[in-house]
């Protein structure tokens, strides 16, 4: 066999990543969990046994059984169905938040690190101000100020996540901008903006992916917390945090109501965390080469 030489290089890199990922059992566990969650979210309309919003007061608060594997809630809605649809919402929140925060944060960090001096000070001090609040508290305040809705919750969480990315990318940019290939690019006539977009940011991408994966868990948790206190998804939306919030009232007698959404949050967040950890190792060039 030997090494296939005639492949496109990007392909080759991806295959290497995949090979390293396969050799790492924890990473695979995380990946399997997330793929299962993702598949469940995508196929919810097709897999779920019931309609997530269908009321059936005759079947209210049924314990888990053959008809309702995870039981039913106080309106007789099937909890398994609602948990499956809830995966859609939670994962969507997670990805949208990471895209917004990662995008804005990385650009801000790269600009700060690359230009240094006043620009750096201005951007990073603003980031410090945001970081000085506990992220959940700040997200709550913002979500409350903008009014309770799912989209506002997404914006609020994205806002508090920006400094994490900005800080990390700034650090990387400080190191990358001193490398000779930046000078080489400048010598061949590249402008600052081009250098940031084509040399600094791509070299920070590995770390952004790792941090993004790790932060996704946090994001889902914060978003669920916002829904739990009524600032995120509004009932009857089947959001995990909102479900726990209502289910809390029934926790003493109907344990299944809050438990199953909680287990799903736990599993998803764990999945993202262990995958993120493993990716950090796998994408580390020192291990790779």
């Amino acid at each position: 066999m030997g090494i296939p030489l005639r492949q496109h290089p990007k392909w080759r890199e991806l295959r290497l990543t995949w090979r390293l990922l396969r050799a790492n059992p924890t990473a695979m566990a995380g990946l399997v969990i997330l793929v299962a969650m993702g598949a469940m979210a995508l196929a919810a309309g097709w897999l779920a046994p019931y309609d997530p919003l269908r009321l059936s007061l005759a079947e209210r608060l049924q314990p888990p059984g053959a008809a309702h594997w995870f039981g039913t809630d106080e309106m007789g809605r099937d909890i398994l169905t609602r948990v499956m649809y809830g995966a859609r919402i939670s994962l969507r929140i997670g990805f949208v938040v990471i895209l917004i925060a990662g995008g804005i944060g990385s650009v801000l960090g790269a600009v700060a690190g690359f230009y240094g001096g006043r620009v750096d000070n201005l951007i990073m001090r603003v980031m410090d101000v945001i970081l000085s609040f506990p992220s959940l508290v700040l997200a709550m305040a913002l979500a409350a100020a903008m009014g309770p809705s799912l989209n506002n919750a997404i914006l609020a969480v994205a806002f508090v996540m920006i400094p994490k990315f900005a800080r990390m990318v700034r650090g990387e940019a400080l190191a990358v901008k001193e490398l000779p290939f930046i000078a080489a690019a400048r010598v061949s006539g590249a402008r600052n903006r081009w250098i940031i977009a084509h040399h600094i940011l791509p070299n920070c991408l590995n770390s952004v992916i790792v941090l993004g994966t790790l932060t996704l868990g946090d994001t889902i948790l914060i978003a669920a917390s916002l829904s739990f206190i009524g600032l995120g998804a509004q009932p009857p939306t089947p959001e995990w945090g909102a479900m726990i919030s209502v289910g809390r009232k029934f926790l003493m007698d109907q344990w299944w109501y809050a438990t199953f959404p909680g287990l799903f949050i736990l599993t998803t967040v764990t999945g993202f965390n262990i995958l993120g950890d493993a990716l950090r190792d796998i994408l580390d060039p020192r291990i790779r080469r």
Partner: protein
């Protein structure tokens, strides 16, 4: 053969919390069209700073050009707009660095980076750019150029990377190439090869080269003229044969004497036997406390009392040979 680049009276200062130190002091030199000018001197004497000044790559602050002019093809590079400078860099003047290992961006393929340069300056379509890059890699004797374009930098050896850099910097046909110790980081076995490619290509295309090195052997082999720098000043400037035959500055004489003999005269010949390797006593003065007068005088073997007092200026001993030394001014070495 006209002058392509002329640097006159260039002085550069760097300041930090310890104070201001002048790194270049009234440096003057010129590069003619199509010639290879060697710039030699010990580490820290200002060779690289001079090169970076030409491309305006001195970080300011802490660096500051305090006087002088750099004229390139009739244009004063110290006063052109940043936009114009962007056109000059890469298109008209290119530079090759010492570290081939990290001069390429590790996250992109070689082809990606070469195309970037071609497209920026020539505005070619992807396919034409590819053809140009392949041709250029072929000229630097890269086997299988199409494959090399698809590789990432870490898949290439040091010599290959430096050849890629040469190809990349010459692909837009610049008029001047600045090579900052292009072979220092390479294996001795590939140094000669890379150097031969670099100088051969430049000669064939009529590109002037400013070759920075501290290897007198390299200078003797490839350069037309040589400028010797010491502690931020040009101390001697001459054609290469002239310099090796009649070095006027004691520092140049020391540098030439420090070249090891590969083939010493036989032991039984008169005055034969391997001689111990010569070295110039002392070290280059630090930037902060440079000696007054001639900066070389504490290490000099011929100097008189005036050397510690007056700074010698660069004087033309013959129309082709200039030296900055009180003792050698009469042309007697």
């Amino acid at each position: 053969m006209g002058t392509l680049l002329s640097i006159e009276n260039l002085s550069v200062e760097f300041s930090n919390y310890q104070g201001t130190s002048s790194v270049l002091n009234h440096v003057s030199l010129s590069v003619n069209r199509g010639e290879i000018l060697g710039l030699v001197g010990e580490s820290g004497c200002g060779k690289s700073v001079t090169a970076r000044c030409i491309l305006r790559l001195i970080p300011a602050p802490p660096g500051k050009i305090t006087s002088g002019s750099i004229r390139f093809a009739g244009e004063d590079l110290l006063s052109v707009s940043p936009k114009r400078m962007g056109r000059v860099r890469g298109r008209e003047i290119s530079m090759i660095f010492q570290e081939p290992m990290s001069s390429l961006n590790p996250v992109f393929t070689v082809g990606n980076q070469m195309r970037e340069v071609v497209r920026r300056h020539r505005g070619l379509a992807r396919r034409e750019a590819d053809a140009l890059c392949t041709g250029m890699l072929h000229q630097v004797q890269m086997p299988d150029p199409e494959e090399v374009l698809k590789k990432y930098p870490h898949e290439l050896s040091g010599g290959m990377r430096q050849r890629v850099m040469i190809a990349m910097e010459l692909v837009c046909d610049p008029q001047l190439l600045i090579a900052d110790e292009p072979t220092t980081a390479l294996d001795v076995t590939v140094q000669g090869q890379v150097l031969a490619i670099l100088t051969g290509l430049s000669r064939r295309r009529g590109i002037s080269v400013l070759l920075i090195t501290h290897d007198m052997g390299v200078v003797a082999q490839v350069c037309d003229r040589v400028a010797v720098m010491y502690a931020g000043q040009v101390v001697e400037l001459a054609a290469v044969e002239e310099l090796f035959a009649r070095p006027l500055h004691p520092y140049t004489q020391g540098l030439i004497a420090a070249i090891p003999d590969v083939d010493p005269p036989a032991d039984d010949a008169p005055g034969g036997g391997a001689r111990p390797l010569f070295s110039i006593p002392g070290t280059v003065p630090t930037l902060i406390d440079r000696p007054p007068g001639c900066r070389f005088h504490p290490r000099c073997t011929v100097g008189g009392p005036g050397c510690a007092r007056d700074v010698p200026g660069l004087c033309w001993v013959t129309p082709e040979h200039a030296v900055a030394c009180h003792s050698s001014r009469g042309g007697t070495a």
